[in-house]
């Protein structure tokens, strides 16, 4: 028989292990993201990972200088020599004293030599780099962003009080941020642009739909957060120098109070009541499938679906606009948007047709898809079930599909129409068609062929224009 003491000890050890495991899991789950430094120069913009030693952040000096010019380093266990272009530097492991261009100076913390890699504290960069580069550097140390020379990109933000309102951001150089949307927010993250803050980091606009924006820089990146009370989307123009953030609905102050339901982006229930006429701005919503981290199918060694869909969607927009139809692009950049958000954005703009774009390496030509939904959706008073929202628009979708099929066949492009379980087609309260582009033969490079894409885009647009009146009537 075990003694009560032994049992108690075992229980205590067990509890101890549980506490230890819980603590470890908490520590692991709260692990901070890797520290980085961003370096911007006229030659290259790049980021490097930092290492922490003795409470200081360190970076490899060779890695910093390598993209900027010819650099060579050699050393033994205690001395490390580096030549950048024609400038010589000498460092000693574990010491602060260093020599560049024959002049000695002190680093703010010890130089470290790890496996032949020379590490300098990042706090030394503002004094160390000018000695090698021969010019000034600006260092935003808190945000770990280093500007070599005069490379800063400035921007202005201007509210345009049209209906719907838009926020126009003008940049002094082209930018390509990653963009993510979430209810009430549009987030742009600039990792490779030497963007500098405007006069104030919190911008406010006298507008209820887009009331404010904020600038924040951290861990080698800049985040520009636009707040909105309606779904927001971004449109690029002027070769990437202008980003226009547009609200998907008209200003709330002009909308009746009953509109609240129609601007809801929460999935689950879609309003079946008609949307006020002033919201009917776009004839077509074109949705390039995938985007951001969601790459879609691998179509070749270097080719991913999200890039083909975006290129094709842009051509389709051009073709539709040239035929006098207004078009809203769900994404015009490499951004990640959830399927429910895509459907919400399309539904609140109440288009006559929604077209989502996909691409595949298998198959022959173009495949057109309509939603696979039951014939009659469940009814909840004035609402439609989210998963069956498309059911009332099946005839409109089939009409558009048949018309596009005829146009593609007329141009002798192989085409096949199918129903498909392809979201968010079943969540759309308008005619909705999916277009999957695939090569006519086994040559997948045709997917990126401007001529082929143009031919297909032109046929799809022509097919839509042919049934324009029918789609308008159903809308």
């Amino acid at each position: 028989m075990r003694s009560p003491n032994a049992t108690g000890r075992r229980a205590a050890v067990g509890i101890g292990f549980m506490v230890l495991a819980a603590t470890l899991s908490l520590i692991l789950s709260a692990a901070p993201e890797e520290k980085r430094i961003a370096i911007y120069s006229n030659v290259a913009n790049y980021t490097l990972n930092l290492v922490s030693r003795n409470g200081q952040d360190y970076v490899g000096l060779l890695e910093i200088l390598e993209p900027l010019g010819t650099v060579y380093a050699k050393g033994d266990s205690s001395k490390w020599k580096l030549r950048y272009k024609d400038v010589d530097g000498e460092f000693s492991a574990g010491k602060t004293r260093a020599k560049v261009r024959g002049q000695s100076f002190d680093l703010p913390a010890n130089f470290l030599l790890e496996n032949g890699r020379g590490l300098v504290p990042i706090s030394s960069l503002v004094t160390l780099l000018p000695r090698f580069l021969g010019g000034p550097v600006t260092f935003h140390q808190e945000a770990r962003r280093l500007f070599v020379g005069d490379v800063a990109v400035h921007f202005t933000a201007q509210m345009v009080r049209t209906a719907p309102p838009s926020l126009v951001l003008n940049f002094t150089s082209p930018v390509n941020p990653s963009i993510a949307t979430e209810p009430g927010k549009l987030r742009m993250v600039f990792t490779h642009e030497p963007l500098v803050p405007p006069g104030t980091q919190n911008l406010t606009f006298d507008n209820r739909i887009i009331p404010s924006a904020s600038y924040q820089e951290n861990n080698g990146a800049v985040e520009l957060l636009i707040n909105g009370s309606a779904p927001l989307f971004a449109k690029f123009s002027n070769d990437g120098r202008t980003i226009t953030v547009i609200a998907a609905v008209e200003a709330a102050n002009t909308a009746p109070s009953s509109e609240t339901g129609t601007t809801s982006s929460a999935p689950g229930i879609t309003p079946a009541t008609s949307v006020p006429p002033q919201l009917r701005k776009y004839f077509a919503v074109v949705d390039a499938g995938h985007g951001g981290d969601e790459r879609g199918a691998a179509l070749g060694e270097q080719l991913v679906e999200k890039d083909v869909t975006l290129a094709f969607a842009r051509r389709l927009r051009q073709e539709l606009e040239s035929r006098g139809l207004s078009v809203l692009m769900v994404r015009d950049t490499d951004s990640s948007i959830a399927l429910d958000q895509r459907a919400s954005l399309a539904n609140v703009t109440h288009p006559a047709i929604y077209v989502c774009i996909h691409a595949a390496s298998q198959g022959n030509g173009v495949r057109l898809y309509t939603a696979m939904v039951p014939n009659v959706g469940e009814s909840h008073g004035p609402f439609l079930a989210w998963d069956n929202a498309q059911s009332a628009f099946r005839i409109a979708s089939e009409t558009a599909e048949n018309s596009i099929t005829s146009e593609l066949q007329r141009k002798q492009i192989p085409v096949h129409g199918l129903m498909a379980p392809l979201r968010p087609l079943n969540n759309i309260i308008a005619a909705a068609v999916g277009v999957e582009l695939s090569p006519r033969g086994s040559d997948t490079s045709e997917l990126t062929s401007a001529q082929y894409q143009q031919q297909v885009a032109s046929s799809v647009a022509a097919g839509i224009v042919l049934v324009r009146d029918k789609l308008e009537a159903i809308r």
């Binding site: 879609g296 199918a297 129903m419 999957e436």
Partner: protein
């Protein structure tokens, strides 16, 4: 006078009887106090090697992009649920062959099939089935149509089919085909007809 050899014989017999009694007593005690061996109470799976039956597998073809019926003789157990499992395993087996008309990722498996009344079949696939699946609207739809059509055409009474991955709901098979809903057998049948082309 009793002969000496008789006395010795009787004594030996008594000793043997006593020894055997002691041994039996010992064996009885052991049998009483020893814990009975653990019994595996789990149900025994139905034998897969039942009588071979003629079935129709709806096999997907990447080229030209359709699903076609193909007769096969496979051993099937008697239970509905087990039959459904073996049917789909036979179908997946075709796709895992080297010269498959619609290759699936290595290690793809059907873990279980549950027949839930009324008319709902839940197919639980393993992670390799979805993780290793090629991405594309058609290629994913071919898999779904093939699986649903095979099940519905061989097991009477199935109206809807739900596909899970590792026992959980997944948004899509490989980025396109929706797995968050149940498939209506009638609609899948319509898709299969559409796939045959005009």
């Amino acid at each position: 006078m009793i002969p000496r050899h008789l006395i010795i014989g009787v004594a030996l017999m008594l000793a043997a009887a006593l020894g055997m009694s002691l041994y039996v007593w010992h064996m009885r005690s052991t049998a009483t106090y020893s814990t009975p061996a653990a019994v595996d109470a789990r149900p025994v799976p139905a034998p897969v090697s039942g009588p071979s039956e003629q079935v129709t597998l709806w096999v997907a073809y990447d080229v030209p992009g359709n699903v076609r019926p193909q007769g096969a003789r496979i051993p099937l157990p008697s239970g509905r649920q087990e039959r459904a499992q073996e049917l789909l395993r036979a179908l997946i087996g075709l796709y895992l062959k080297k010269d498959s008309s619609h290759p699936l990722g290595a290690g793809s498996e059907i873990r279980e099939v549950y027949l839930v009344d009324p008319g709902l079949a839940v197919i639980d696939t393993n992670a390799a089935f979805a993780d290793g699946h090629r991405s594309g609207v058609l290629v994913e739809e071919l898999t779904v149509a093939s699986v649903v059509q095979t099940l519905a055409s061989n097991i009477p009474g199935i109206n809807r089919v739900r596909i899970l991955v590792d026992g959980k709901t997944r948004d899509s098979l490989a980025g396109h085909a929706d797995l968050s809903v149940s498939y209506d057998v009638g609609q899948v049948n319509q898709v299969v007809q559409q796939m045959q082309g005009p």
